[in-house]
Amino acid sequence: MPHTITWYDRLRIERLVWSLDQQLYDLPRVQRIATRREVRANLLEAARDVGTREALRGVGGSRRLAEQFLTAEFGDNPRHTWIGAAYAAALTPLLLNFFLAEAANAFQSGVTATDPHATGVFTWSGVSWLQSAATYTFSDGTATSHGGGWTPLAYLLWVVITVGFGRLWRLRLRRRPAVAPA
């Protein structure tokens, strides 16, 4: 007996579809959209046939389904992850800048701890290897600064961390034709 699809049923199906979509970002965009549409169409069909609860049970959850789609595309071998690379690329500058800013604040605090009314120009060599020299101009204990940017090594570290977290070297090992959109 066909089941009626309510708005609540549609919401449950959409929840799974979009949860799946979020886990398929390593697929090419066109293929990800095609997969999303196909899963949605099949789920709606199954929900009419056996009910939404049974239809959702049949696909086994978004995480497992996404893993199977990714395995179908990239095989069982270890694979790269664009999501991991994106997280690393975004978070590394935040953490590195936080660390460098704290180090710079420590230098500045050191100067004012020695002389709360310090006046003059002070140069700090920065965090070794990661940061260029910074110049602090104090006026009655209040400082302005310039310099202290990333060194080429810091940029290289950023790239290495991004490649490492995304395991992007695996891209070189395997190039497969993408699935043509239907």
Binding site: A41, G58, Q68, A180
Partner: protein
């Protein structure tokens, strides 16, 4: 026929089953699942079939076309390519050899058990 199947065995033959079903006639994803279940594979989950169809498509064994549906979104129908027919023929031959070899071993008589049963 609703007995369960060993998932590992099923995984090994799922591609062959899909190719054969789609060689009989083109179908969309959920219809393939229904046909598998009607054939006795009641424990086959959609979550295994849809990615397997995607893999066969990527391998060039299936091609697809979208067909509008009166009851909802357009359905993606799968059908075999020439490569798919070749893969099916090869798979059927390999399967026949496999079950012949397995049967040859399993049909050997077993020695009497030591406890005299």
């Amino acid at each position: 026929m609703s007995e369960t199947h060993d998932p590992q065995l099923l995984k090994g033959v799922l591609s062959l089953l899909l190719l054969h079903l789609l060689a009989e006639r083109e179908s969309y994803g959920y219809e393939v699942v229904q046909r598998l279940q009607a054939a006795g594979f009641a424990d086959v989950l959609e979550g295994s079939v849809y990615p397997a169809l995607t893999r066969l498509q990527r391998e060039g064994r299936l091609e697809t076309r979208l067909v509008p549906s009166a009851s909802g979104p357009a359905r993606k129908y799968y059908r075999l390519t020439t490569g798919g027919h070749e893969a099916l023929a090869g798979g059927l031959g390999a399967w026949s050899r496999h079950i012949a070899a397995v049967d040859a071993v399993l049909s050997r008589p077993l020695p009497p058990s030591e406890n005299g049963d």
